[in-house]
């Protein structure tokens, strides 16, 4: 697999690189950011997302805890009632941030959790115990779902679980299995998804609107349009090149050091993110966008806030700027509003030069043809003052004829 840093970046996919980084930073501090990449076949949606696995930072968990319990705040059924000393006694281990996938053979049991069959059929000590599924195991990490539109179409049951998990931050998961007590756990997982809206069964928002709205941002991938980039891509993928790279010990070391650099950056950004907040004037600005353009989903503006702060952090700025917010508008809204509304919003924001202009919503009403106040030029006499004979006029009597 081509390492993350070597993947070609061009106009059509750079937004996804940024979103992936933003989501990792956000997940690292415990606030999920759900990202959906949509685009044509072979535009690298899956490649970029899977490659990000190698740059994930590490996290600490209670030793052996399959639910990835944070030693400072244990949440799973086994550890949540333990005292600090007891946890200390169990020990702590460092693992890479989880990155799990939900495939198309997934079932409710494997995704949420089910009875542990091995324990149940243990001839010596049969025991009914819960085996957590992919979602609880990915706590504090990332779940990747390829072709999410197909999953939503064929497995509505799994979609329902995802709706619950992605509904709030952190999400909520309830595992129910006959013969076991109901387990309810909070999960903080960023869901990354990829899909091609042009293939069966169509774009996600047509299949499950709710699920599509759960994604904070959608990135529409474009095709590369430069010869150099295409040539580089071919080279990276040629067998000769790959074989040569595999034989060189230096490459592995170089890759690792690059990945390490990403990890350090992510940890640095995460620390910055925890200290940065959106300035009040931008918060007002986002709120006004919501009111003015009659947006439906509050999630949209929440995502806009989260995204704007993350974007500024990624640019190593400690202050969020208006451009961070405007950059987010298409990413956050393209899957939530129709094209006309989006274009109106973008142009509305775009037309303002300085910061002061942005806050000035007065006098910005789009003047429509319809409300031309000069349409009627003459003043009419009231009916009261009129003679009976001049009350009713038809088209004929009103149109001056030439005959």
């Amino acid at each position: 697999m081509i390492p993350f840093y070597k993947l070609e970046r061009y106009e059509g996919n750079e937004a996804l690189f940024e979103l992936v980084m933003m989501s990792i930073v956000s997940s690292y501090v415990g606030e999920p950011l759900h990202v959906h990449a949509e685009g044509l076949r072979g535009t690298g949606k899956t490649t970029i997302m899977r490659a990000a696995r190698d740059i994930l930072p590490t996290i600490e968990r209670i030793k052996g805890c399959i639910y990835n319990c944070d030693p400072a705040a244990p949440h799973c059924p086994h550890h949540k009632n333990l005292s600090a000393e007891e946890i200390k006694a169990i020990g702590v281990e460092v693992i890479p941030m989880p990155f799990l996938e939900i495939s198309h053979s997934a079932k409710v049991g494997t995704v949420a959790g089910s009875i542990d069959l091995a324990r149940l059929t243990d001839p010596a000590h049969p025991e009914a115990q819960l085996l957590p599924g992919i979602i609880p195991q990915a706590h504090r990490g990332i779940i990747f779902i390829d072709e999410i539109n197909r999953l939503a179409d064929t497995s509505p049951e799994i979609t329902d679980i995802l709706l619950d998990v992605m509904g709030n931050k952190p999400g909520h998961l309830q595992i129910e299995e006959a013969g076991l007590p109901v387990v309810e756990i909070p999960v903080s997982v960023s869901v990354w998804a990829a899909s091609n809206p042009d293939e069966e069964p169509g774009p996600l928002e047509e299949i499950r609107r709710q699920l599509s709205d759960r994604f904070d941002m959608v990135c529409y991938m474009g095709r590369p349009d430069s010869l150099d980039i295409l040539a580089n891509m071919l080279e990276e993928n040629s067998h000769f090149h790959k074989a040569k790279q595999a034989n060189e010990a230096e490459t592995a070391a170089a890759d690792e050091s690059k990945n390490e650099q990403y990890r350090n950056d992510i940890i640095k950004w995460a620390a910055m993110y925890e200290k940065t907040d959106l300035p009040d004037f931008l918060r007002n600005f986002i709120a006004r966008l919501y009111i003015k353009h009659n947006l439906e989903s509050i999630r949209a503006i929440q995502a806009m806030q989260q995204g704007a702060v993350l974007h500024s952090v990624l640019k190593n700025r400690d202050k969020v700027m208006i451009t961070d917010v405007t950059y987010m508008i298409p990413l956050v809204l393209k899957h939530r509003v129709d094209g006309d509304t989006l274009v109106r919003m973008i142009n509305d924001v775009d037309s303002r030069g300085s910061k002061d202009g942005i806050l000035n919503f007065k006098g910005r009403k789009n003047k429509k043809d319809e409300s031309d106040p000069e349409y009627f030029q003459q003043v009419a006499r009231p009916l009261k003052d009129m003679h009976r004979g001049e009350l009713v006029h038809t088209e004929k009597t009103l149109t001056p004829s030439d005959f």
């Binding site: 089910s114 474009g222 095709r223 298409p330 006309d340 003043v379 009916l383 149109t399």
Partner: protein, 592 residues
């Protein structure tokens, strides 16, 4: 009383005039600021003549504003005024008391029957709807201070908009209402606007003026920012707007080439209209955006226009995806307007597939399908404990199987009337339906057209979008209506292909006028219809009210259903086919 003009006289005279002109499907200007008709009204910005009001004779007021089913129920009174705020509650109260006074004046006896009078007036209070720029509501509600908010862009921004359910005999009340509203306007310190002229006409399809809000990036394309994201969104949106009208990227290119400087590729406006319907609006919009300009050759693409053309060519893949995404979208706005006559009872075949997320455990039934291993083991474990088995055993009663889901595949053959009258918007609507069915469904689609003296399989049963759009682009409506011929071609096509639950959708705005076997075109079409029935093909026929008698006979002959619409637009067509597919699914479920 001669010469004395009481309000009662004036009103009675106005009432007579109104019933005369309304009967001729006309509207009138009452006084100088009021327009009354039973239709919807619009300004005429397209002609840029100010002060003129258009009465849209193809849009009934009750249907348009109040969602009534029957026409001619409602009198539409618009009193125009200069900019300013009018409280609808004031209007409501004034009308209420004016009616009361008027009845009293007309019949002084009523002063002794106060209750009777009050009943009369409140009866009307429930029949009058008022909208001003400050709110709207039923007179009765407004009288009690209950008002709904005014929504920008609705009727009523520069006039008091009143809809009254009045009979012929009650038209005189329109005068009373208009006069009262004028008084309220004047009392609010505003002036009345003079309506210079009224004209009658059909409403053109309401189309969005996108030139107003789309901004193209090439204004100063020397700048560095030419490739920023928002600009791209703008261009995309423009293309989508054009695609809505023209169909696809290829058609947009063809349209733009009509304005190239290459004379061989240029197409006259008449030729364009035949294929795409009314294109003037789009040409106007493109001109406003600076993409087309006048030259010695006529209208040609500007530099910006050429850049757009270039963009379209370069980003064809992405644009096509976006366009298909829009085609997939279901029409918004509910079920649409259609009337269904007759019903179809035919058997449907189903397809089964396994649902891996639901298991069934039914020991009495013979099982078939995939065994659900984990569920079976859990059940067996539980049961062996209850049975007191010494060893872990699995019995038949423990077995769990994955559930099965079924669906009814429906292959659709569209039989489209391509006679001259279908040119333009109707053709576009039928083509859009075909694309929508292919893209949003899982089944095959075919298209057969009939025109002049023959019929043609334009698209054979396919799932390939290219085949479909290529076939559709060849449809060019002209000539007569050989329906019998078309039906036979479609029946043969269905017969000779392995299709599942065939549904034949006949879309026509006329009746047959070219025979196939005899000299009677209608009889031939009816004869052909019996073949549909013989081959167990399900037929739905979509037509317009004026041809109802013949189409009813036809669908009866074929054991099919008839859908009548007031307009063959794409929303109606899609909604009908969708409705029919749903019924097919449901009848299947009921039979199972």
């Amino acid at each position: 009383m001669l010469g004395e003009e009481t309000n009662v006289d004036k009103a009675a005279s106005v009432g007579n005039y109104l019933s005369l002109y309304f009967g001729q499907n006309q509207g009138v200007r009452l006084g100088e600021s009021t327009v009354i008709s039973r239709r919807a009204h619009a300004r005429m910005p397209e002609k840029r003549v100010k002060g003129q009001i258009k009465i849209l004779i193809n849009r009934d007021a009750g249907k348009t504003y109040l969602d009534y089913v029957d026409v001619d129920q409602v009198v539409h009174i618009d009193v125009y005024h200069k900019a300013g705020e009018i409280d609808p509650r004031d209007v409501a109260r004034a009308i209420f008391w004016a009616l009361d006074e008027h009845f009293l004046e007309k019949d002084p006896q009523l002063q002794y029957a106060e209750e009777e009078r009050f009943k009369m007036v409140s009866g009307y209070a429930n029949k009058i709807f008022i909208t001003t720029n400050q709110g709207k509501g039923l007179l009765y509600d407004l009288f009690q201070d209950v008002l709904k908010p005014y929504i920008e862009g609705e009727e009523g921004h520069d006039h008091v908009h009143i809809l009254a359910r009045l009979n012929r005999e009650e038209y005189y009340l329109a005068y009373v209402i208009a006069e009262t509203v004028e008084e309220v306007i004047l009392a609010s310190g505003l002036k009345l606007s003079k309506v210079r002229n009224i004209v009658h006409g059909n409403q053109k399809e309401e189309r969005d003026s996108y030139a107003g809000y789309i901004k193209l990036p090439w204004k100063n394309f020397k700048g560095q920012n030419a490739h920023q994201l928002p600009d791209k969104e703008n261009v995309n949106q423009l293309i989508l707007k054009l695609a809505e009208k023209f169909g696809g990227v290829d058609e947009i290119e063809e349209f733009m080439e009509s304005y190239s400087t290459n004379i061989f590729k240029r197409k006259g406006i008449e030729q364009q209209k035949k294929k795409w319907g009314d294109v003037e609006h789009d040409v106007e919009q493109l001109e406003e955006l600076g993409l087309i300009k006048d030259s010695i050759l006529g209208k040609v693409l500007t530099k910006k226009g050429l850049m757009l053309q270039d963009f379209v060519v370069k980003h064809k893949c992405e644009l096509e995806t976006e366009i298909r995404r829009n085609v997939r979208k279901a029409p918004s706005g509910g079920s649409g307007r259609f009337k269904k006559l007759g019903k179809v009872d035919s058997k449907t075949a189903q397809v089964e597939y396994t649902n891996r997320n639901r298991t069934v455990n039914d020991p009495d039934k013979n099982w078939s399908g995939d065994l659900a291993v984990p569920e079976t083991i859990i059940q067996a474990k539980k049961n062996s404990f209850l049975r007191g088995d010494t060893h872990f055993t699995i019995k038949k009663q423990d077995l769990h199987f994955y559930d099965k889901k079924t669906y009814v595949p429906i292959d659709i053959c569209l039989l489209i009337d391509a006679s001259g009258s279908m040119a333009g918007d109707k053709r576009q609507a039928a083509c859009f339906l075909a694309e929508h069915l292919l893209i949003s469904g899982k089944e095959k689609v075919a298209v057969v057209t009939f025109q002049e003296r023959s019929s043609e399989v334009v698209v054979p049963f396919t799932r390939n979008q290219r085949v479909l759009s290529k076939g559709l682009s060849t449809i060019s409506p002209a000539g007569l209506t050989p329906m019998a011929n078309g039906i036979m071609t479609a029946v043969d096509l269905i017969k000779n292909n392995r299709v599942k639950n065939p549904l034949l959708v006949l879309i026509t705005d006329g009746i047959p006028n070219t025979p196939l076997w005899t000299l009677d075109a209608k009889a031939d079409a009816l004869e052909a219809a019996t073949h549909i029935k013989e081959n167990k093909i399900r037929l739905i026929c979509i037509g317009v009210e004026s041809n109802r008698i013949f189409l009813e006979k036809l669908s009866e002959r074929a054991d099919g259903a008839l859908y009548l619409v007031d307009d063959l637009n794409k929303d109606n067509l899609i909604n009908i086919v969708r409705h029919e597919k749903k019924t097919m699914m449901e009848t299947h479920k009921n039979m199972a």
